[in-house]
C-alpha cells in the first residue's frame, strides 16, 4: 500500500508517495536523488547512512521513511552554508585529511557534528568511543580523530556558534 510522507529535507518541504517499507535512506537517495547519504552495509553497523532527524544523528538505513514523516531531516548536502561555505566539521576533515575514498565520509561527518553538539569538548577517547558506530576502511581513524578535535574547536568559536543559531 503506498502512503504519502512529508518532511523537511535540508530546509525544503518535500512530499512523495512511497511504499510503506521504504527506508529513509532509499527515500533520500532514490526519491529525492540526494545520493550523498550512502549505504555501506545491511546490518546497521557501518554508519555511512547517518543523517540528522530533528537534530539527532540517525542511521537512515534502519529508519523507515514514514518514521520521519513530519520531521526535519538534514543530510550531508544540507550541512554547508547556503553560500557554499563548508561547515566547520567539513572544513576540518579536509584540513586534517580525515577522508580518503569519501564513501564513509558523509556519515562520519554527520555523526561527528552530532557528537560535538552533545559534547562540545570531546577528548580523543570520547571521539573514538563516539564514532564507534561509523566504520572507515581507509584512514585508520587517526586523521578523523584529529579532524573531529579541530572541528569541535571550530564549532565552539563565537562566529560558528552565531552562524549555527
Amino acid at each position: 500500500m503506498p502512503c504519502t510522507v512529508t518532511m523537511t529535507v535540508n530546509g525544503k518541504t518535500v512530499s512523495r508517495e512511497v511504499e510503506e517499507r521504504t527506508l529513509l535512506v532509499t527515500f533520500l537517495r532514490d526519491h529525492l536523488s540526494l545520493t550523498g547519504t550512502h549505504v555501506g552495509c545491511d546490518t546497521s553497523q557501518c554508519g555511512a547512512c547517518v543523517v540528522h532527524v530533528d537534530g539527532r544523528s540517525v542511521k537512515s538505513c534502519t529508519t523507515l521513511a514514514v518514521q520521519a514523516n513530519g520531521a526535519s531531516v538534514t543530510t550531508i548536502e544540507g550541512l554547508a552554508a547556503a553560500d557554499g561555505t563548508l561547515h566547520p566539521m567539513q572544513a576540518a576533515f579536509r584540513e586534517h585529511h580525515g577522508l580518503q575514498c569519501g564513501f564513509c565520509t558523509p556519515g562520519m561527518v554527520m555523526s561527528a557534528v552530532d557528537l560535538v553538539r552533545n559534547n562540545p569538548t570531546p577528548t580523543e577517547h570520547d571521539i573514538r568511543d563516539g564514532l564507534e558506530g561509523n566504520i572507515c576502511r581507509c584512514t585508520g581513524y587517526h586523521n578523523i580523530v584529529k579532524a573531529v578535535q579541530a572541528g569541535a574547536e571550530a564549532m565552539n568559536s563565537p562566529s560558528a556558534k552565531a552562524a549555527a543559531e
Binding site: 511504499e19 517499507r21 537517495r29 536523488s33 540526494l34 545520493t35 550523498g36 547519504t37 550512502h38 549505504v39 555501506g40 552495509c41 545491511d42 546490518t43 553497523q45 557501518c46 555511512a48 543530510t75 550531508i76 548536502e77 550541512l79 554547508a80 563548508l86 567539513q90 576533515f93 579536509r94 584540513e95 585529511h97 577522508l99 580518503q100 575514498c101 569519501g102 564513501f103 564513509c104 565520509t105 558523509p106 561527518v109 580523543e124 571521539i127 573514538r128 568511543d129 564514532l131 564507534e132 561509523n134 566504520i135 572507515c136 576502511r137 581507509c138 584512514t139 585508520g140 581513524y141 587517526h142 586523521n143 578523523i144 580523530v145
Partner: protein
C-alpha cells in the same frame, strides 16, 4: 620549494570538497532513464548440481522484466572469466584453469555462486521476485579448508583439477638450502596460518550496464580499480565486444584494497543483460553479498625453517606453503601466493639460500585474490615471526638479530636468491630511527609498570620490504603475466593555459587528483587549480593498467613525467619559433622559456595559446597543438621498506589486547605529498592490526557456510580499537630507476603491521611459554593461551 603546491607540499586534497558535500559520484548514485534493477539468485550450498530452475513464479511477480540464467548466457556464447596470470608447476605443467562463468552452468561451487538474475522495475521488486525463483539443487560434498582439500578423501571441486590442486610450484635453490641446513648451528622453525580476510571496501561493488542500439555501443559503469583492464578482459574474452564499442567507466570508487581489481561476473551480466532487455541494468551488492562474493585475501598455511650459524647469522630459509585459491581462479589469483609472495621471502636479510614450495588448491569458498599487500604481507608475516623465534633460539635481542642480518646499504643493488633485485634501501637506518623513537631502552621499565597494575606488556618489530610499482612488463611476462604492466599518461595544455591530465592510474581514495596535479604545478609553474586529473574512463584515457600494487605514482606518475617531458620539448620548439631563437638556446625553468643570456622569454601559458592559434608555424617541423602522450614501463619493481614497532598491553584476566603504541619508520623514496602519504600509512597500519587482533573470515568446513558474513560477525577495526600512530619517513634512499625516485606507500602499513603486532602479543605472552599464536589474537585465544601455560611459568 618554488611552488607552494608543488612536490613535497602537504596540499589539501582537491577532490575533498565534492566528497565532503555529498557530491561524489559513485556507481550506485547513477540513474538512467528507463533503468532496471538486477538482483542475483545465489547458491545457498557450497557445492551442488543445479538440476533445474523454475522462474515462472518470479516472472509473474510485479515489476519483473526478465529472469536470466547460465543457460541463456551459454546460448549467447558468453565466455568464461579469464585469468590474467599463468603459473607452471615444478614439473613444467601449466596450472589447472577450470571454467569460471558469470552465471553457473549446471554446478555451483561456493555459497554465493550466482545461478540466475532477476531484473525488475525496482530493486525491491527484483529482491522479492528473486525469492520466488525455485532452483532444484542436488547437494554434493564440499570442502572449505585447504588442509583438508589436499587429502585423498576430499571432495573434488573441479573434475579437471585432481586432488584439488591448481599448481605445485617452487622457487629457489633446494640443494643449496639442504646443504646449509646440514651445517647449521641453530634452526628456528614455525608453523603458522595467515588468516583469511574479507577486504570490505566501504562501498559495496556495483555495476551499471547500458546498450545503445543506435550505434551498437555498450557502456559499463563499475566499481573498478582498472577500467581498461576490465574492458579488455570482458570485451575480448567474455562478451566478444570490440573495444571501440565498449566504454568502461570507473567513477568515484569507495575504496578497493585489491578487491576491485578483478573482472567479476556481475560486470559481464549487467552489460550483456542491458542489450538483451533493451534497457539499462543496475546491480549493487548488499554488504552480505560482498562478504560472499568479493574476492577474499590471504588464507595460507605454512611451515618455515631458518638455518643459522653459531652467531645467529641466517644461512638458509626453507618454506612450504599451502594456499587456498577458492572455488575459481580470480583475475590475478595465481600470482599472489607465488611471484608476489615467495619472491619477498628474503625480506631485509642477506640469507644466502632460500627455497619455497607453494601448493595452491581449489576449495568450495569464494575466490581468493589480491588484498592490500597481496602476497607480501604473507611473506613479511612469515619471515618476521620466524626471525623472532630465531632470536630466541640464538639467544639474541630481537632488534640485534635483525641488524646482524640486514642487507647493508652498501650492498645495493642487491640480488636476492629469490629473483628480485633490490635497488636501494638502508634498513639499519630505519631501525636506528625507530629504536629511540619508541624508547626501546625504556621498554623494560614500561613493562614493569604494566606488571605492577596486573597487565602484560610486549613489544614487537617488523622490518619489512615489499616489491611495488608492479611491474617491468618483460619480467612480469617471464613470470606468467598475460599482459605487460606499464602505464599511460596524456598531458593536454588548453589554449588558455589550463591543463588536463589523462592517466591510466585510478584513484579510489589515494588522492591522485591532488598528487598528480602537484607534479604538473611543480613542473610548469601553473596554478594547481588549473590542473585537472581525469581517470577512470576508457573513452577519455588512451589506455591504462590501473591502480594496485602501490603502482600509481611509481608507474603512472612516471608516465606523467614522460608526457611532461614531451610537452616541454614541443613547447621549447614553439618558444624558439616565437622568440626567433635557436631551440638549443632556450632555457626552461618553472614553466618559463627564456632565450639564454637575454630577457626574452615566454610563459607556458603564452606558448599554449600560440600552439592553438598559430599563423606562421613551419608546418613541416612544427605542428599546432600542445598535447602529448607517453607510456612508461618500469625497469624494475620498487622496494619500499621500513621498520614498524608495536607495543601492546594485555589484560590476563580477560585476554583483551590493547595496542598502546605503534610507530612506523618508512622509506618510500621521495615523497610528493606528506599528508597523503601519512594517511596511507595510518590506514594500512589499521588493516594490519585488524588482521592481527580482530578480523577473521571463517567458513564452517562441515557445512561450507560462511560464518562471518556480516559486520555483526566479522570484526572490522573501529575507532575505539586502535590508538593514534607515530609515523616517520626518510627520503635518503630514492628509487634509482624511476624519474620521480618514488617507491609507493599504499600497502606498506598493512604489510608491516600484522607482524609487528603479533610479535608484540607473543612477546607479552612469552612469560607463559607462548612462542606463537595464530591470528587473530582474540581475547579468547589469548586467554586460553594464558590458561594453558605451564603452571610453573604461569605462577611466576
Amino acid at each position: 620549494m618554488a611552488n607552494p603546491n608543488g612536490v613535497g607540499a602537504s596540499v589539501r586534497r582537491l577532490e575533498d570538497p565534492r566528497f565532503l558535500t555529498g557530491r561524489g559520484n559513485y556507481t550506485d548514485d547513477f540513474k538512467r532513464p528507463n533503468m532496471t534493477h538486477l538482483v542475483h539468485v545465489r547458491s545457498p550450498y557450497p557445492h551442488a548440481l543445479v538440476k533445474g530452475i523454475d522462474a515462472s513464479a518470479a516472472l509473474a511477480a510485479p515489476g519483473v522484466v526478465a529472469v536470466l540464467t547460465g543457460a541463456d548466457m551459454e546460448a549467447d556464447k558468453v565466455g568464461s572469466l579469464p585469468c590474467g596470470w599463468q603459473i607452471h608447476s615444478k614439473d613444467g605443467s601449466p596450472m589447472k584453469e577450470p571454467g569460471h562463468f558469470p552465471l553457473a552452468r549446471g554446478r555451483v561451487r561456493y555459497v554465493g555462486d550466482a545461478v540466475a538474475v532477476v531484473i525488475a522495475e525496482t530493486k525491491d521488486q527484483a529482491r522479492d521476485a528473486a525469492e520466488l525463483v525455485v532452483v532444484d539443487y542436488e547437494e554434493l560434498p564440499a570442502v572449505t579448508a585447504s588442509t583438508r582439500a589436499v587429502t585423498a578423501e576430499a571432495p573434488q571441486v573441479h573434475d579437471e583439477a585432481p586432488g584439488n590442486l591448481c599448481y605445485d610450484w617452487h622457487l629457489g635453490d633446494k640443494a643449496a638450502v639442504d646443504a646449509a641446513f646440514a651445517q647449521a648451528a641453530h634452526v628456528a622453525t614455525i608453523d603458522l596460518v595467515n588468516n583469511r580476510l574479507v577486504p570490505n571496501a566501504m562501498e559495496p561493488r556495483a555495476a551499471l550496464g547500458e546498450y545503445d542500439p543506435s550505434n551498437g555501443e555498450y557502456t559499463l559503469t563499475t566499481t573498478s580499480q582498472n577500467p581498461h583492464v576490465i574492458r579488455l578482459l570482458m570485451g575480448a574474452f567474455v562478451l566478444g565486444i570490440p573495444e571501440h564499442k565498449l566504454r568502461v567507466v570507473a567513477p568515484d570508487v569507495g575504496g578497493g584494497f585489491g578487491s576491485k581489481i578483478f573482472h567479476y561476473g556481475e560486470e559481464a551480466v549487467v552489460t550483456w543483460a542491458a542489450k538483451k532487455i533493451g534497457r539499462p541494468v543496475k546491480w549493487t551488492a548488499d554488504r552480505s553479498e560482498s562478504f560472499l562474493t568479493d574476492a577474499h585475501g590471504r588464507d595460507h598455511v605454512s611451515h618455515a625453517e631458518m638455518a643459522m650459524d653459531q652467531d645467529g647469522h641466517f644461512l638458509a630459509l626453507r618454506v612450504s606453503t599451502l594456499a587456498n585459491l577458492g572455488a575459481y581462479l580470480s583475475t590475478f589469483a595465481p600470482s599472489i601466493p607465488t611471484y608476489l609472495y615467495a619472491t619477498l621471502l628474503a625480506g631485509q636479510y642477506k640469507t644466502p639460500a632460500i627455497y619455497a614450495e607453494v601448493k595452491a588448491v581449489f576449495t568450495n569458498t569464494a575466490p581468493v585474490d589480491a588484498y592490500r599487500g597481496a602476497g607480501r604481507p604473507e611473506a613479511c608475516y612469515l619471515i618476521e615471526r620466524l626471525v623472532d623465534i630465531a632470536a630466541g633460539v640464538a639467544g639474541l635481542d630481537r632488534a640485534e638479530i635483525r641488524r646482524r642480518n640486514f642487507v647493508p646499504a652498501s650492498a645495493m643493488p642487491y640480488q636476492t636468491p629469490v629473483a628480485l633485485q633490490y635497488d636501494s634501501g638502508d634498513f639499519a637506518k630505519n631501525l636506528d630511527i625507530a629504536l629511540p623513537l619508541v624508547d626501546y631502552d625504556g621498554f623494560a621499565a614500561r613493562k614493569a609498570a604494566s606488571k605492577a597494575k596486573g597487565k602484560l606488556r610486549g613489544i614487537g618489530f617488523s622490518t619489512y620490504i615489499e616489491a611495488c610499482g608492479i611491474a617491468p612488463s618483460n619480467v612480469a611476462g617471464a613470470l606468467g603475466a598475460r599482459a605487460g604492466l606499464y602505464e599511460c599518461a596524456e598531458v593536454r595544455f588548453h589554449p588558455t593555459g589550463s591543463v588536463t591530465v589523462f592517466t591510466g592510474s585510478h584513484s579510489h581514495g589515494q588522492g591522485h587528483e591532488t598528487t598528480f596535479a602537484q607534479l604538473v604545478a611543480e613542473r610548469f609553474g601553473v596554478p594547481i587549480e588549473n590542473v585537472e586529473i581525469v581517470h577512470g574512463d576508457t573513452s577519455k584515457i588512451p589506455f591504462g593498467m590501473g591502480t594496485y600494487g602501490s603502482r600509481s605514482l611509481a608507474v603512472g606518475g612516471s608516465a606523467l613525467v614522460k608526457a611532461m617531458d614531451k610537452v616541454e620539448r614541443k613547447a621549447k620548439k614553439i618558444a624558439a619559433h616565437m622568440l626567433e631563437a635557436a631551440e638549443t638556446d632556450i632555457e626552461v625553468k618553472d614553466g618559463r622559456f627564456t632565450v639564454a643570456g637575454t630577457d626574452k622569454s615566454l610563459g607556458i601559458g603564452d606558448i599554449a595559446l600560440q600552439a592553438y592559434v598559430p599563423h606562421n608555424f613551419p608546418l613541416d617541423e612544427l605542428e599546432p597543438g600542445l598535447d602529448e602522450q607517453a607510456f612508461y614501463d618500469p625497469k624494475n619493481f620498487t622496494y619500499p621498506n621500513g621498520c614498524h614497532v608495536c607495543e601492546v598491553e594485555i589484560d590476563p584476566e580477560t585476554g583483551v589486547t590493547q595496542v598502546v603504541a605503534f610507530s612506523a619508520v618508512d622509506d618510500f623514496g621521495n615523497v610528493i605529498n606528506p599528508l597523503i602519504v601519512e594517511g596511507q600509512v595510518h590506514g594500512g597500519i589499521v588493516q594490519g592490526i585488524g588482521q592481527a587482533l580482530l578480523e577473521n573470515c571463517v567458513y564452517d568446513d562441515e557445512s561450507g557456510q560462511l560464518l562471518t558474513g556480516s559486520f555483526m560477525d566479522y570484526c572490522m577495526p573501529r575507532a575505539d580499537d586502535v590508538p593514534s600512530f607515530t609515523v616517520r619517513y626518510h627520503e635518503d634512499q630514492p628509487c634509482t630507476h624511476n624519474p620521480l625516485g618514488v617507491k609507493g606507500c599504499g600497502e606498506a602499513g598493512t604489510i608491516g603491521a600484522s607482524a609487528a603486532t603479533m610479535n608484540a602479543v607473543v612477546d607479552a605472552l612469552s612469560a607463559f611459554g607462548v612462542t606463537h599464536l595464530d591470528m587473530p589474537a582474540t581475547p579468547e585465544k589469548v586467554w586460553r593461551a594464558i590458561q594453558n601455560a605451564t603452571p610453573a611459568l604461569a605462577a611466576e
